[in-house]
């Protein structure tokens, strides 16, 4: 494979703004030996999505804002404001 590895950070924010607070998070490291997993930390790695940008993470995907289907306006399922970030680590 190539001369680098990807680290992925997923942040779930309190609303669609990147500078809103982090309410959930996940990390998957393709580089290095650190293995993140469910339940491995109770404190978010960043206070907001903007803080992640300032620390060098590159935003690669953000969830869309979708209209609410008639009759299902109050139904809740998955977390709504999901942002994927990456860091490319040269090896």
């Amino acid at each position: 494979m190539g001369q680098g590895r990807q680290n992925v950070l997923v942040l779930y924010l309190a609303n669609s703004a990147l500078d809103s607070p982090v309410i959930g998070w996940a990390r998957y490291n393709g580089a290095g030996a650190t293995r993140h997993m469910s339940g491995d930390s109770d404190d978010p790695p960043y206070a907001s999505g903007l803080d992640a940008l300032r620390d060098g993470w590159r935003l690669i995907q953000a969830s869309q804002l979708l209209p609410h289907a008639r009759g299902e306006e109050f139904d809740l399922a998955y977390l709504k404001y999901e942002f994927f970030f990456e860091q490319w680590i040269e090896t």
Partner: protein, 317 residues
């Protein structure tokens, strides 16, 4: 089963405990099960075989489950007739606290769905078969379940659980979301998540929808948790020590407040946000809690902080 406590004498849940269950999806009771039942359960459950190089962990696990004294029970069995008389689980289910909580949440004569002895192995078991010791992905049990009524899952911790041993991880307040089992496995950590660290004999009574997962066991001993799922056989409405009469309760002032309102009322409990609430859908969580409280109190007019009144005004015009 404790035959000395009649149904009329059961310690039923209070309005405040029921409201907390509706809002957060769980009730926790520490030191609920006496030590002699915990010891009996551990004897009946037995010890899993020690890690052996090259031996498949989950085939050894399966053999262990097949050989221990916990019975195989068909779903649909009456809960209080499901377990052998005098066995640890039958004795646990006979505890007044357990019977009172189940009566309050499920009504009379709950029905057994399934049970399982969850054993979480320390690192050496995984290393022996060349595997990785990781936590379980967060999930909601069973499958998409759009009901307003609910099943209860009792999680029983027969021995002390330290943080190093992992413990069950659960996220209070997630139970009203309609998701598909482990589709949410990507959510590694959520603000407000709790880890079940406890002394022997702790019980969790969970709404079937609460998001949870087994924590990774970094200690040197196996961790056991016994789970029983059960459902109602009849009405779940006003089965607890219900004193709350929503129709008689006036709405409390909202937003512009001169002083901190009482925090121990049903309305205050139902309107208490969780740390992970999104700013907009947190309000929908409040609406869904109100709907569940309406269902349980059999009062379609109940409201808290005007959330339902506002969106229902004029709907029949």
């Amino acid at each position: 089963m404790d035959r000395d406590v009649t149904d009329q004498e059961l310690p039923l849940l209070s309005d405040e405990q029921m409201a907390s269950f509706v809002a957060r999806g769980f009730l926790r009771f520490d030191a609920a099960v006496p030590e002699d039942i915990n010891a009996q359960f551990m004897t009946e459950a037995g010890e899993p075989p020690e890690a052996t190089a090259g031996r498949k962990l989950y085939s050894a696990y399966g053999e262990f489950l097949a050989k221990n004294a916990i019975p195989e029970i068909a779903p649909g069995t009456a809960l209080y007739e499901a377990y052998p008389r005098g066995g640890a689980v039958e004795r646990l289910l006979g505890l007044p606290l357990v019977r009172g909580a189940l009566r309050s949440l499920l009504g009379e004569d709950p029905i057994f769905d399934h049970h399982f002895l969850h054993v979480t192995f320390p690192t050496r078991y995984h290393e022996a078969q060349g595997g990785e010791n990781v936590s379980q992905h967060t999930h909601q049990d069973s499958t998409i379940d759009p009901r307003l009524s609910f099943d209860v899952q009792v999680m029983y911790y027969p021995h002390a659980v330290t943080r190093e041993m992992g413990g069950t991880r659960f996220i209070p307040g997630t139970h009203l979301r309609k998701v598909s089992e482990v589709a949410l496995g990507r959510y590694q950590n959520i603000r407000g998540q709790q880890h079940m660290v406890c002394e022997a004999g702790a019980l969790l009574f969970l709404h079937h929808g609460i998001w949870h997962g087994g924590g990774v066991n970094r200690s040197d001993r196996t961790r056991a948790m016994f789970k029983i799922r059960m459902r109602a056989s009849g009405s779940q409405k006003r089965q607890w020590a219900a004193r709350h009469h929503p129709r008689a309760e006036s709405q409390r002032p909202i937003f512009y407040l001169k002083r901190t309102p009482p925090q121990d009322t049903v309305a205050a409990i139902l309107m208490r946000p969780e740390p992970w609430f999104e700013q907009d859908t947190g309000r929908l969580e409040f609406l869904n809690r109100i709907k569940l409280w309406r269902y349980l109190t059999d009062d379609p007019t109940f409201d808290a902080d005007y959330w339902m009144t506002r969106v229902e005004n004029g709907v029949t015009a």
